[in-house]
């Protein structure tokens, strides 16, 4: 297993190289000049030329590509053109926010989705089935930004029970240690015996995470239902039924593990999409994460930021895929054996 993981990690290198190359040239093709945008419309030609030289934008494309590649290998993704801070540094600061949000969202989606989907499969063609599956359809089709705004209206403005945005009450003096605010506030709780940080950071998570969870939740619920129905038809389910295993136990123990194979794939794809598509949710809820960072980077033609962001997302997808393949092998012994035999 270990050698398998190592081999997969080695395969990351060409994939990443490809991604870096594609992103670099695609962005260079995009219209707009960062120097012009930075200096504003009234800038003199000489000023622009000067800045271009300073940023290294005057060199030929291929040369710029070579320099960039060399830097990337040394984990130097350049400096943000606007903030002048290293991209890697900004990334490390913002990425935990996105991870925190996405992890909570995918956890909600997975637990609720699998529960609803299994129940719908067991109570097939019942009112519960119809209602939850139509709900799932609505969940898939609902635009996240619209749902987000409606939720802010309802829960923050009208009912006033949840904050509109941000990660923690802005009045709190809060020096992040890990940048995972939930973890930070737990640490603070142990240091200062004060609950308020934790409650505040959790309350700030509720709305964005729930909104972000709607689409994956709906997809997971529908997949769970269909793969569960498929599994419940199998001969081995009939066998345990004929042996007197109670229905609930059949579903929870025997059928779910088989159905999990399909569900896992969907969860992983959804998680990858979540991380990369958190842009809208992060923008609406003023969540200082990777999504918002890339969004502003694109708007400002901040090449290093956009490139860094895309490389990060590619890396996330690769890692998620690897994790899922490993989990597959843990769930399905048939995969495990073939890998041993390799």
């Amino acid at each position: 297993m270990l050698s398998y993981i190592l081999r997969r990690l080695l395969q990351f290198i060409p994939t990443m190289l490809g991604a870096v190359t594609v992103v670099f040239f695609l962005i260079s093709l995009a219209p707009g000049d960062p120097a012009r945008i930075m200096l504003g419309e009234r800038a003199q030609k000489e000023q622009i030329e000067e800045l271009r030289e300073e940023l290294g934008l005057d060199k030929p494309l291929v040369q710029r590509y070579g320099i960039y590649l060399l830097n990337v290998v040394q984990l130097d993704l350049g400096k943000s053109i606007f903030s002048q801070r290293p991209v890697v540094e900004e990334m490390l600061e913002l990425f935990p926010a996105t991870i925190e949000l996405s992890l909570v969202a995918i956890t909600i989606a997975t637990i609720v989705g699998i529960f609803l989907g299994s129940l719908a499969a067991v109570k097939r063609n019942s009112p519960f089935d119809y209602i939850s599956m139509s709900g799932a359809l609505v969940g898939v089709s609902m635009p996240v930004f619209w749902l987000g705004l409606i939720c802010i209206m309802l829960f923050s403005v009208i009912l006033d029970i949840l904050p509109t945005g941000g990660r923690i009450n802005a009045r709190y003096f809060f020096l992040p240690i890990t940048n995972f605010y939930v973890i930070d506030s737990i640490i603070l709780f142990f240091q200062e015996k004060d609950w308020s940080y934790l409650t505040s950071s959790l309350l700030h998570l509720v709305l964005p995470a729930s909104v972000l969870a709607t689409v994956p939740l709906a997809v997971i619920a529908r997949t769970t239902r269909s793969s569960m129905l498929e599994v419940l038809k199998q001969d081995y389910v009939r066998t345990v039924r004929s042996l007197g295993v109670p229905r609930f136990r059949i579903i929870r123990v025997y059928a779910l593990k088989n159905a999990m194979l399909t569900i896992l794939t969907v969860i992983s794809i959804q998680f990858g999409l979540l991380l990369s598509s958190a842009i809208l949710t992060e923008t609406i809820f003023a969540w200082p994460g990777i999504g918002r960072w890339i969004y502003t980077g694109i708007a400002a033609r901040d090449y290093p930021v956009v490139q860094g962001g895309v490389i990060l997302i590619v890396g996330i997808f690769l890692i998620i895929n690897l994790v899922v393949d490993v989990v597959y092998a843990l769930v399905d012994p048939r995969i495990r054996i073939t890998k041993k035999a390799e």
């Binding site: 081995y236 009939r238 066998t239 345990v240 004929s242 042996l243 007197g244 295993v245």
Partner: protein, 331 residues
Amino acid sequence: MKVLDVKNITIGFKDRFGFTPMVRDLSFSIDKGEVLSIVGESGCGKSITAYSILKLMDPHISEIRGDGLMFGERNLLSATESEMQQIRGKNISMIFQEPMSSLNPVFSIGAQLTDICTLHTGDSKKQAWQYGIELLKRVHIPSAGECMHKYPHELSGGMRQRVLIALALVSPSLEMLIADEPTTALDVTIQAQILNLLDELRKETGLTLLMITHDLGVVATLSDRVMVMYAGRKVEEGSLADILNNPSHPYTQGLLSSLPIKQHERLAENRPMFAIPGNVPSLKAISEACPFSDRCDRVISECKQAFPSEAAISDTHRAWCNVLDEGIKDA
């Protein structure tokens, strides 16, 4: 003593157009320690009968009607799903015809065995593991301890069927085993091993066995009594000797005559082998008439009007046919 007494049951499927009977007015009983075989071709309702005893069919689409499905003192017809869960695997268990797909692919043999063991014996996991090894030894699986760690895909069909038999034998209070074509999916040498195993087990434990099969060879190896079904009806019933030596219903006679082993003469003369003409009628199209009347060469007008009444040939031997007296002839 009767272990199972089936009284006049009709099993069918229901949809929005109504109820379509698949098995009609079926009555039979099995004594303790007896082996009863139900024989018939595909679609005659023998598997449905087996499934109905454990009420394994989806109650949303199927229905069992009748006077009683007596298992000892209990009437299974009125048993609820949770009462049936108490009986399944504990008092009556079943083995199926698809050993390749009847074991859960993502659990090891040991995990599946110990789970069923703890369910029926109340043993701890550790005891159940030991008991599982014992059971595997009882069904003659070599190196049973190793087998516990294996997964179904690592075993051959015959081995998987042995594991399934072991699963069915878990309960110490098992009274009856239903075997639904347990050898159909296996090749001939393995078939013989599985049949020997079943025979051995019932001799050791006095287990009552209900055997569902279309294979007359299997019938001859194991059965005490035989029941022949055709298109959802019981057409003949008798001891093994009655059925094999003195088949009385035209269908049973046709079935026995179709055996390749009885067709030396035809083969020697280069004539095609004997087969019953025609096809099994669609179960939806069946009327009150004798279902075999369309294919029978001795059909008379009464056959088309109502299902024939019971005719006793001997104490143990019965058939449901109007034309028995002229019919008894060499197969």
